[in-house]
C-alpha cells in the first residue's frame, strides 16, 4: 500500500516545533523587550536591580491569579470573581487570625478561596450556567460580603508571624518570589504534560468531542475555577502580609487585568488555545508598562492613553508576525 501523500510529510525538529507552538508568546516577548529597551533609554534607572525587584513585587498578585485565569480561559470560561474572592477570603481569615493564630487564619483564607472557586466551578460545570454570569454574580456577592464582614474597615492588628508570607526570605530569596516561580513552572508542566492539563485543553477546544472521547468534562471543568479561587486567596494572603493589613476594598479590576494578560499572551477566549508562558509575558508587559510610566513621570491623566496604546500595539505586532509567517 503506497502512501499517497507521504512525500509531503515534513520532519519536525524540536526547535521548529517549539517555535510553531510558542509563536505568539515569542512575539509578545519581543514586544516586552522592545518596551523595556525604550524605557531604559528614557530612564536608565528602569533597569536598576531594585526596580526589577519592585516590578516583581508589583506583578506578583495579579501574576499568581492570572495562572488560574489561564486555566479557566483555556476551558472556554471566564472568571470575573477573582477580585471579590481575593477580598472575602483574606477578610475571613483576617477576622479569625488575631484570636486563632496565623496558621488557622491562613488556612481559613485558602479554604474560603477554594470554596468560592468550587462554587463557581460547580455552577458552571454541573448546573451548566454561563461562566460570565456565575462569576459576575460571585464577584458581586464576595465583594459585598467582604464589606459586610469587616464592616468596611481594614484589619491591621495582625500577628507578627504573618509577615513571613510577604516579607520573609528563604535562602536569601523572597518567599513570594519562590512561590511565584514554582507556581508558574508547576502550571506549565501541569498543562503541557499531565493528563488533567491536556483534558483542559481538549474541553476548551471542543467540549462535545471531549465528552464523546470519554473525558469527564464537568469534573475537569471544575478544577480551573477551584484552583483560581485558591490562587486568589494565596496571592492576597501574600499581598496583605506584605502590606501588614487586610483591606476589604481590594480586588476591583483584577478580572479585566488578568484576562487581558491571558489574552495578550495568546490565549483565545473561545478556549483551547493559550499557555501560562504567554500569560506570564502578558502580566509583565502590563506591569512593566505601568511601572515605567510611573518612573518616567508620565502625567496620571495620560497614563491610560499610553497603557491602552501599548496594549493594542502589542497585539498588532503579534498580528504582523502571524501574517508574515504565512
Amino acid at each position: 500500500m503506497t502512501a499517497t501523500v507521504a512525500e509531503q510529510r515534513t520532519p519536525r525538529s524540536g526547535w521548529s516545533k517549539f517555535v510553531a507552538t510558542y509563536r505568539i508568546e515569542a512575539a509578545m516577548l519581543g514586544a516586552l523587550v522592545v518596551l523595556a529597551v525604550v524605557l531604559t533609554i528614557i530612564e536608565p534607572r528602569f533597569l536598576s536591580s531594585s526596580n526589577m525587584q519592585n516590578i516583581l513585587s508589583q506583578v506578583m498578585v495579579l501574576g499568581i491569579i492570572a495562572i488560574g485565569q489561564t486555566l479557566v480561559v483555556l476551558t472556554g470560561g471566564i472568571d470575573l470573581s477573582v477580585g471579590g474572592i481575593a477580598a472575602v477570603s483574606i477578610v475571613m481569615g483576617g477576622l479569625v487570625m488575631p484570636s486563632a493564630g496565623v496558621l488557622v487564619g491562613v488556612s481559613v483564607m485558602l479554604l474560603v478561596g477554594l470554596l468560592a472557586g468550587l462554587v463557581n466551578g460547580i455552577l458552571v460545570a454541573y448546573v451548566k450556567l454561563a461562566p460570565f454570569i456565575v462569576t459576575l454574580g460571585m464577584m458581586s456577592i464576595t465583594a459585598s460580603l467582604a464589606y459586610v464582614l469587616s464592616d468596611g474597615r481594614s484589619i491591621f492588628n495582625l500577628p507578627d508571624a504573618f509577615a513571613f508570607f510577604g516579607k520573609g526570605n528563604i535562602a536569601g530569596v523572597k518567599f513570594y518570589v519562590i512561590v511565584f516561580v514554582v507556581l508558574y513552572i508547576a502550571a506549565h508542566i501541569f498543562l503541557t504534560r499531565s493528563k488533567p492539563g491536556r483534558f483542559i485543553y481538549a474541553i476548551g477546544s471542543n467540549p462535545e468531542a471531549a465528552r464523546l472521547s470519554g473525558i469527564r468534562v464537568s469534573f475537569y471543568q471544575v478544577i480551573p475555577y477551584a484552583v483560581t479561587g485558591l490562587l486568589c486567596a494565596l496571592a492576597m494572603t501574600i499581598e496583605s502580609s506584605r502590606l501588614g493589613t487586610i483591606d476589604p476594598n481590594t480586588g476591583s479590576g483584577f478580572e479585566l487585568t488578568t484576562i487581558a494578560a491571558v489574552v495578550i499572551g495568546g490565549a483565545s477566549l473561545m478556549g483551547g488555545k493559550g499557555s501560562v508562558l504567554g500569560t506570564l509575558i502578558g502580566i509583565f508587559l502590563i506591569g512593566v508598562l505601568q511601572n515605567g510610566l510611573n518612573i518616567i513621570g508620565v502625567n496620571a491623566f495620560w497614563q491610560g492613553t499610553a497603557l491602552g496604546t501599548v496594549i493594542i500595539l502589542a497585539v498588532v505586532l503579534d498580528r504582523l508576525v502571524r501574517v508574515r509567517k504565512r
Partner: protein, 504 residues
C-alpha cells in the same frame, strides 16, 4: 462460550428529539465476528442507534445487553469498558492537538504512571497504531490535526477508535470523507478485525461497500427497522426499495441528459494555486458537467477554492460572468454567478446555530438582497427548496445543527440553489447523502444543467464522476494531468493517471 448468545442485543430502542421521533422501537443484535451494515435514508436514525449503542446518547426506552448481561451506558467510556467503540459521523478531534495526542488523549497507555505525558507514551505508540492499521497516508503523528486534510482527519478518527481493544466497533459513515484508496484500506481493516473475532457495525450510503464487507444488512427507515438482508441473496434494487420505501425509477447513468454544451461560463487560464507550481487551464461550458477526479490530497479542493476566491491565487486568469482576472473574494464569485458547496460541511458550509431558514437565504441575500427582507417571498422560496430537495425537517425555524448529516448537506445545497448560480462548483457533494436523496440530487443537477447551468464537480466517488461528467479532469499533485471525455473515462483509466503521477 455459548454460540446462541449474541455479542450485543438491543430491543425496543426508542428515542425522540423534541417532536422528532428518531427511533421508534428498534430491535437489533450482532454476533461475534460479524459485520453488519446499517443502511437507510438520511434521518432514518442510523447515527442515533449507533450513538445509543456506544453510550454517546441516552435512549428514552429500551434495553441493551452485552454478552447476555443487561448494560446501561451513560458515556462513551461506559460503553468502551464493555468493549464497544465508535467512530462518530461528525468530527470529534481536537484541532489544536497533535495526531498522537488525539489518538491517546484518553487512553491509559497515553500516559506514564497514569497521568504523565511523554513522547514515548504517545508519539511512538501513535506511529505504531498508524502502521498497524495499514493506514499510513502521510500522517505525521506530531502534526497538528488542524493542519490535516479532511480525509486525513477522518483516518485519524478511524485509527483512534479501531486501535482500542474492543469487541464491537461502530463506524458511522467512516468512508464519507475518504478517497477510494483509503476506503480500500478501511475495508481491509474491517475484514482483519472480523477475522480476529471482532464485530463491526458499519453505517454507509455506499452500497458497494455494503456488499464488499457486510455479512448482514440491517435497514432502517423513519426510525423503524425495515428488515434484515443477506447480501449474497439481495439485489441492490431490493435493498434500495427497502431503504426508501419504493422502487427508484432509473439508474442514474441513464438519468443524465447529454446535450451539446453552450458557451464557456468559466474559463481558467494558467491559474497557479498557492503552494503549487503547476498552471491549470480549462473551461466549463453552459449545459455540461466537468468532473474533477484525483486522489485525496491531489489539490482539487485547493484549485476550486482559488477559482472561487476563497483562497488567493498566485497568478493566472479566471473569466466568469463578465469578470476577468483572478477572483478575489467569494462575494465576487457569487456576484459573477458562481456557487460553491464546500467539502467540509460543518466548518465551512453550515451555520449550525442558525435556523434552517436563515441558512438557506444567506447567499441569495448576499447576491440580490435589498436592505429590508421580503419575508413572504423568502418563506416561499425556502419552502420550495425544502420540498424540491426533500429536506426532512420539523420546521424551517429549527436550528440546522439538529438535522441529520445528509439533510444538513441538502440545506447547504439549497442555500446555493436559491442564489440561482450559472456555475455550480461542488466539492464532494454527495458525501453523507443517502441513495434516494442522491438520485434526487443527481436529477436536480441534471435538470439545472439541462436548463443551461454549468457544473464543476470534485468527487472521490468514482461511479458518480463517471455517471455525471461530460468530461473528467484528472488531478495529481496539484496539476491537471489529463482530460478525458465521457466516452474515454473509465475507472481504470482515471486511476492509471493518478497512479502514474503518484509513483513519479
Amino acid at each position: 462460550m455459548t454460540v446462541n448468545i449474541p455479542l450485543l442485543e438491543a430491543s425496543g430502542i426508542q428515542k425522540s428529539y423534541g417532536a422528532t421521533r428518531a427511533l421508534a422501537g428498534v430491535n437489533f443484535d450482532i454476533g461475534r465476528g460479524e459485520v453488519v451494515a446499517l443502511v437507510g435514508e438520511n434521518g432514518a436514525g442510523k447515527s442515533t442507534l449507533g450513538k445509543i449503542l456506544a453510550g454517546a446518547t441516552e435512549m428514552d426506552e429500551g434495553t441493551v445487553s452485552v454478552n447476555g448481561m443487561p448494560v446501561s451506558f451513560h458515556s462513551t467510556k461506559d460503553a468502551l469498558d464493555h468493549g464497544v467503540a465508535i467512530v462518530l459521523q461528525e468530527f470529534n478531534l481536537i484541532p489544536e492537538m497533535t495526531v498522537a495526542e488525539n489518538l491517546f488523549l484518553t487512553r491509559p497507555t497515553g500516559y506514564r504512571w497514569g497521568w504523565w505525558k511523554t513522547r514515548k507514551s504517545q508519539v511512538d505508540q501513535a506511529s505504531k497504531a498508524i502502521a498497524d492499521a495499514y493506514m499510513d497516508f502521510g500522517i505525521d503523528p506530531e502534526a497538528l490535526v488542524s493542519e490535516l486534510s479532511v480525509a486525513q482527519q477522518q483516518i485519524v478518527e478511524i485509527i483512534r477508535s479501531l486501535s482500542v481493544d474492543a469487541q464491537l466497533f461502530i463506524l458511522d459513515e467512516p468512508s464519507a470523507a475518504l478517497g477510494r484508496r483509503e476506503t480500500d484500506s478501511l475495508l481491509q481493516l474491517i475484514r482483519r478485525l472480523r477475522d480476529d473475532g471482532r464485530s463491526v457495525i458499519i453505517v454507509t450510503h455506499r452500497l458497494d461497500e455494503v456488499y464488499a464487507v457486510a455479512d448482514r444488512i440491517f435497514v432502517l427507515r423513519d426510525g423503524i427497522a425495515r428488515g434484515e438482508f443477506d447480501p449474497a441473496s439481495t439485489s441492490t434494487d431490493e435493498l434500495v426499495a427497502a431503504m426508501v420505501g419504493r422502487a427508484l425509477d432509473k439508474e442514474m447513468h441513464e438519468a443524465r441528459t447529454i446535450q451539446t454544451p453552450g458557451d464557456a461560463v468559466l474559463t481558467v487560464d494558467k491559474l497557479v494555486v498557492q503552494g503549487s507550481s503547476s498552471e491549470c487551464s480549462f473551461q466549463v461550458r453552459r449545459g455540461e458537467i466537468v468532473g474533477v477526479a484525483g486522489l485525496v490530497g491531489s489539490g482539487r479542493t485547493e484549485l476550486i477554492r482559488a477559482i472561487f476566491g476563497a483562497d488567493p491565487a498566485v497568478s493566472g486568469t479566471v473569466v466568469l460572468g463578465g469578470t476577468t482576472g483572478v477572483i478575489r473574494s467569494p462575494l465576487a464569485a457569487v456576484r459573477a454567478g458562481a456557487a460553491m458547496v464546500s467539502e467540509d460541511r460543518k466548518q465551512l458550509g453550515l451555520h449550525t446555530a442558525l435556523t434552517i431558514h436563515d441558512n438557506v437565504v444567506l447567499s441569495y441575500l448576499a447576491k440580490y438582497g435589498k436592505f429590508w427582507l421580503n419575508r413572504k417571498k423568502l418563506d416561499a422560496d425556502v419552502a420550495q427548496q425544502v420540498d424540491d430537495l426533500r429536506i426532512k425537517i420539523g420546521g424551517s425555524w429549527l436550528d440546522a445543527g439538529v438535522l441529520s448529516g445528509g439533510n444538513q448537506q441538502k440545506v447547504v445545497l439549497a442555500k446555493w440553489l436559491l442564489s440561482k448560480p450559472e456555475l455550480l462548483i461542488l466539492d464532494e457533494p454527495t458525501r453523507g447523502i443517502d441513495v434516494g436523496a442522491r438520485a434526487e440530487f443527481y436529477r436536480v443537477v441534471d435538470d439545472l444543467v439541462a436548463q443551461g447551468m454549468a457544473v464543476l464537480m470534485v468527487s472521490s466517488e468514482m461511479p458518480e464522476v463517471l455517471a455525471l461528467s461530460d468530461r473528467v479532469l484528472v488531478m495529481s499533485k496539484g496539476a491537471i494531468v489529463t482530460e478525458l471525455s465521457r466516452e474515454e473515462a473509465t475507472e481504470e483509466r482515471i486511476l492509471s493517471f493518478t497512479e502514474v503521477m503518484a509513483a513519479a
